[in-house]
């Protein structure tokens, strides 16, 4: 199989690397995943490539093209309340298994295999650290999808630059702050320019699943399919352990780069949540208008979160 990823090998791609290793091992080298970083497709067109049958496995982010995959954008809504990577895995899996989601992705001949869980997209920024919601007014923030909408609701200006342009944009003052997961603040070097990092704003995250081509999946021999299915959990465990190590180092990285940790007052965050509330409502209405079970998907996320917390 050919696998289309992008960028370089990083924490964000470790589960696919591990999956390739496990599958090869289990099938004695008969079934291999050839991972290509950007050689087979542009990242925003990985789903097109799957639909064409150009490659058999790919990774993409829901926010790159919300119209292609409306159902999974529920996972990118602001303030869902996801706190850990394990919770992110649980809610992603629940949404991926919903029949409406499956049908949505089947339009692209794609089957959702596993999530690439990322922590909350907190901000790094330059200048005076924000303390109250009013401090965000007029701040130019690089943020996409639901997170961008949330910042807009409190008077910030979400600005469109791609991840690779974020560094230049921040350095040049095109943006004052950038919303990324920790690994991306490192990979795209925004942390080098930062004066501060919001440790607990937790506005939401971005959902980037790994998918496979349905025809190719169904054409697999029973042994190969078992090898693939049976390796997913182990690959995800490896990913989580690896990301966990990165998060452990995070504090020392902040200290080394002389970046101030900003703790926003709980009351302020509650106000933020309240202002951003209508965004979730609007999402549900939009989905319902398109004939998709928006409310059901949203409730599914909330219930899964409750269950995940109880089992902990």
């Amino acid at each position: 199989w050919n696998v289309s990823l992008w960028g370089k090998r990083r924490a964000f791609t470790e589960h696919v690397e591990k999956l390739a290793e496990l599958v090869k091992e289990k099938t004695g080298g008969e079934f291999t995943l050839n991972i290509s970083y950007g050689g087979l497709s542009k990242n925003r067109e990985n789903l097109d490539g799957i639909s064409i049958g150009a490659f058999e496995m790919a990774q993409f982010c829901a926010g790159y093209h919300r119209d292609k995959n409306p159902t999974i954008t529920v996972l990118e809504l602001p303030f869902l309340g996801v706190n850990t990577l394990e919770e992110e895995v649980a809610v992603s899996k629940a949404v991926y298994n919903h029949p409406a989601t499956k049908a949505d992705l089947a339009r692209w001949n794609a089957m959702l295999l596993m999530p690439s869980p990322m922590p909350q997209y907190n901000l790094v920024g330059t200048g005076k650290p924000p303390a109250r919601l009013e401090d965000f007014k007029g701040m130019r923030i690089r943020a996409t999808g639901g997170i961008g909408e949330a910042f807009k609701a409190i008077g910030a200006v979400p600005t469109s630059v791609t991840a690779t342009e974020a560094y230049n944009a921040m350095e040049s003052g095109v943006v004052d702050a950038v919303a990324f997961a920790q690994h991306a603040h490192l990979a795209f070097r925004t942390i080098e320019l930062a004066d501060w990092w919001t440790e607990n704003l937790n506005p939401g995250t971005v959902n980037c699943p790994v998918v496979v081509n349905i025809d190719a999946y169904e054409a697999l021999s029973p042994e190969h399919r078992a090898a693939l299915d049976g390796s997913i959990d182990e690959a995800l465990d490896h990913y989580l352990a690896n990301y966990g190590k990165l998060l452990e180092k995070w504090d020392s990285i902040l200290a080394e780069k002389n970046v101030q940790k900003v703790h926003i007052d709980e009351a302020e965050i509650a106000r933020f949540r309240e202002v951003a509330g209508p965004i979730q409502k609007k999402w549900i209405d939009d989905m319902t208008a398109q004939g998709l079970p928006g409310q059901e998907l949203f409730d599914l996320v909330q219930e899964t979160l409750k269950t995940a917390r109880m089992s902990n």
Partner: protein
């Protein structure tokens, strides 16, 4: 404007050639105007960001979608004018029928790949288009969710016009082979590289003598 290097006469082929050329020129000018408009948009975006603190919403998305106009609209015009780069060191040395046979074959190859790309780019458009969705959009830009299908539709449209242009040129070359013409109509004539380079620099060099007063 540069002098076209295509001969004309009263034949049906030449009349079709010139009619299509008028359409091609209009589309190429439209592409030029979009380039101009995007320059203005970029200037406005900088000023609005610096002076008003309010950049144009979705500036990058708008720019990317409008790029499709100048990336494709002029493609047939460029072919008519012989503007797509090639190495004619060999063709320029041939004479008589030999030239037209070479030109016919390479144009035929171009027609083959253009046909394949019309199909492929049409599918690409189709994947982003759906009658049942809002704005007919099944795929949209990352920031302000502009539908992608209009700019994707430009590709098969422009390539179809190129297909027509290539078919006309095949006709022209075919006639030149059959009649052993030295200077056929409706096809760009092969020029020595020196003249070609001059054409490239024509706009700046052939401007009225204001440089001297300058």
């Amino acid at each position: 404007m540069t002098q076209s290097r295509v001969r004309a006469d009263n034949s049906l082929l030449s009349r079709i050639d010139r009619a299509v050329f008028r359409l091609e020129s209009a589309l190429n000018l439209a592409a030029g105007l979009v380039i101009f408009a995007l320059v203005c948009l970029a200037v406005w975006n900088v000023l609005a960001r610096k002076l008003l603190g309010m950049p144009v919403p979705g500036y990058v998305d708008w720019t990317e979608q409008f790029m499709a106009t100048f990336a494709f609209l002029g493609i047939a015009y460029c072919q008519r004018e012989g503007g797509h780069i090639r190495m004619d060191i060999l063709v320029a040395r041939l004479s008589g029928r030999g030239v037209w046979i070479f030109e016919f074959l390479s144009t035929l190859f171009m027609l083959v790949i253009t046909t394949a790309l019309i199909y492929g780019s049409w599918y690409h458009f189709q994947r982003s288009f759906s009658f049942s969705d809002p704005w007919w959009s099944r795929d949209s830009t990352i920031d302000v969710a502009l539908p992608l299908w209009p700019s994707k539709l430009l590709v098969p449209f422009s390539l179809s016009l190129l297909w027509l242009r290539l078919a006309l040129q095949l006709w022209g070359y075919g006639r030149a082979i059959a009649r052993a013409e030295a200077e056929p109509v409706a096809v760009p004539l092969v020029e020595p590289p020196a003249e070609q380079a001059m054409h490239e620099a024509e706009v700046v060099v052939e401007a009225p003598g204001d440089a001297r007063n300058g």
